[in-house]
């Protein structure tokens, strides 16, 4: 697997010079971070708190001349660790049935389409419940746009392990979902 350095489209070298770059980062990564944390099992409020704390940590990190490489992975790692500290809500709801909650999302679709969509998500939710914790985390970070190397840094595992885990998880989902 590729171990090449991942080019980030972020002005990382100028981060310490002002807060505008941190603001840019915040706008770019806030939503992916929130999505990752909520899918880990945190509530929306908890996820907001963790994201804010993560960006505060980033400011302190940069103010103390911390490393500016792979800031995206750094932020996800901080957020991931903070989410893990909230053990009561961590992995609480991802993969649960969302039958009633999905009604408001598919209001544009026909009844037949809605039934099919619901069935599709129901099968996926059931398949997600069969995944191991590292498999779920790898897939969530992958869905957040992180590269394998960044995922490895967040979870503290090798890049090759990430590749194997992602491949195994995708295969499981594809088989269980019958797609």
């Amino acid at each position: 697997m590729s171990d090449d350095s991942v080019p980030l489209a972020l002005p990382l070298l100028r981060l310490a010079t002002g807060s505008s770059e941190v603001t840019t980062l915040y706008r770019e990564l806030r939503k992916p971070l929130l999505r990752y944390l909520v899918c880990l099992g945190l509530t929306s409020d908890e996820a907001q708190d963790v994201v804010q704390d993560a960006f505060l940590s980033l400011q302190r990190h940069l103010a103390s001349d911390g490393a500016q490489e792979n800031i995206r992975g750094w932020l996800f790692r901080v957020a991931h660790n903070q989410a893990r500290n909230r053990q009561t809500s961590y992995h609480r709801q991802f993969g649960e049935r969302l039958d009633s909650e999905m009604d408001f999302l598919a209001h544009d679709a026909t009844p037949e389409q809605r039934v099919l969509e619901k069935e599709k998500f129901r099968r996926l939710a059931a398949a997600i419940r069969l995944l191991t914790e590292p498999e779920r985390e790898c897939l969530l970070l992958r869905a957040g746009g992180l590269h394998y190397r960044e995922i490895g840094e967040v979870l503290g595992i090798a890049t090759s392990t990430v590749a194997d885990t992602v491949e195994r998880a995708i295969k499981k989902l594809a088989e269980k979902c019958n797609v």
Partner: protein, 184 residues
């Protein structure tokens, strides 16, 4: 099962080393099974991505729906407060009336039914202060007396020395001079 199948996901994610990419892509073109698998992996990745959005939206929706009863309760409480104030004002006389009636009922049953002193007391307090108040509120004319030396009014030597006149000015309630009377 061909060896390339284990590299399909990495190829899909753009994580395959550059020296392996060409070989894998060539194999995908030739192998229908790998193409089907690749399509399935791509589709399940998309579904997973959408599912994440659904989870986020559902939780956000759940948070909003939790607020609905809270806000509804607050609105009902506010409405009750606003409704309670005018009702209390309207009901105030009706509350007082039964109280008086209730108090008046046991009075005849008391062994000392002597209402006479009450009547006299009521008359004293009712009539006398009202009259006093009316007198107080009548506008009174202010009178001002000014001593004027005779030299100020007549040429020197025309009047005996030391003679003064008193001018009495009646002041109207609006502050204007109503009447002037001069006397010695």
């Amino acid at each position: 099962m061909c060896d390339v199948q284990a590299k399909l996901v990495a190829w899909l994610d753009g994580e395959l080393p550059s020296d392996e990419v060409v070989g894998v892509e060539r194999h995908i073109e030739e192998c229908k099974e790998c193409r089907d698998r690749l399509a399935a992996y791509e589709k399940v990745s998309e579904i997973f991505d959408v599912y994440c959005d659904v989870v986020v939206a559902a939780k956000r929706h759940g948070r909003v729906s939790l607020w609905v009863p809270v806000l509804a309760g607050a609105a009902v409480a506010t409405a009750m407060i606003f409704l309670a104030f005018p009702r209390a004002r309207i009901e105030a006389p009706s509350i007082a009336t039964p109280a008086i009636k209730a108090a008046s009922v046991p009075v005849p049953a008391l062994p000392m039914p002597e209402p006479a002193p009450r009547k006299t007391i009521r008359k004293r307090h009712a009539v006398a202060p009202v009259q006093e108040q009316i007198v107080r509120w009548q506008p009174a004319e202010a009178a001002v007396q000014i001593a004027i030396p005779a030299e100020a009014m007549f040429p020197p030597g025309a009047m005996p020395e030391g003679m003064n006149f008193i001018a009495e000015l009646s002041i109207a309630p609006d502050g204007s001079v109503k009447q002037v009377r001069v006397r010695q």
